[in-house]
Amino acid sequence: MNQAVEQSTPDLVELRVPARAEWVALARLAAATVANRLHFSIEEIEDVKLAVAEACAAVIQHDGHGEFISLTCEALVDALRIRVHDSGRHGVAPAGSRHMNFEEARVAGLGIFLIRTLMDEVSYDVHPQHGTDLLMVKRLAGRPE
């Protein structure tokens, strides 16, 4: 193996799965594998798994979501950066699609609340043409910002 090539490759993992509930477990696992490589604690790895799962569930439960969810996990020196991309064009919900009732909206709010609590940085990027990105960062404990 070529060591020089080996070491310069960033720990970048990308996964694209159908935007359906049965694929969320795989997304969780991919993120957990990257978090594990960064030597996060078991509790922190669980936090990351849940945040990714909530991000995927939010996409899936949102009207007008795209066909696929893309997950990008990037291992930085002192943090894990995760992007969950939904290619759906929001606001252009297909006719006849379901709208959330109050109760469902409340549970969805719980998901977003969990993401914000479990991750250190959370932001959204909404591109009317290219879909929505949720960006999340979890820092390794004890490292300064």
């Binding site: 477990a25 569930a57 998901g111 969990l114």
Partner: protein
């Protein structure tokens, strides 16, 4: 990547629902069905045993909250058995510890049912 649901009758008009596995956006409809079926049959005092649950997300919490709301309309209650620290943490940070009874053993959860 799956959930197992088992329903047991217990003394005193009460039922125990054993869950084992992962309660997520994929598996929570199965839990919702099981709990909903019990409530439809008039069971309003439930213990839900989460001891073998390794993972729960907001859709799973939503199912538990929904069940609790339904039984409360009939003066019922839902007590949870939960020992997994990560899952306890989720109930803590969401404030749901305040609306569910959460116990370390099935015995304690049963005794505390009104």
């Amino acid at each position: 990547m799956d959930i197992k649901v088992n329903v047991r009758e217990a003394p005193g008009d009460c039922y125990i629902v054993d869950l084992s596995g992962e309660i997520d956006v994929y598996t929570s409809p199965k839990v919702k069905d099981a709990v909903g079926t019990l409530i439809d049959r008039g069971v309003y005092h439930l213990v839900i045993n989460l001891e073998k649950v390794r993972y729960i997300d907001s859709t799973g919490l939503g199912v538990l909250i929904g069940g609790l709301k339904r039984v409360r309309e009939h003066g019922g209650s839902v007590n949870l058995v939960c020992t997994n620290l990560q899952i306890k943490k989720i109930f803590d940070i969401t404030g749901l510890v305040k609306i569910f009874g959460i116990f370390d053993s099935e015995d304690a959860a049963m005794k505390a049912l009104v």
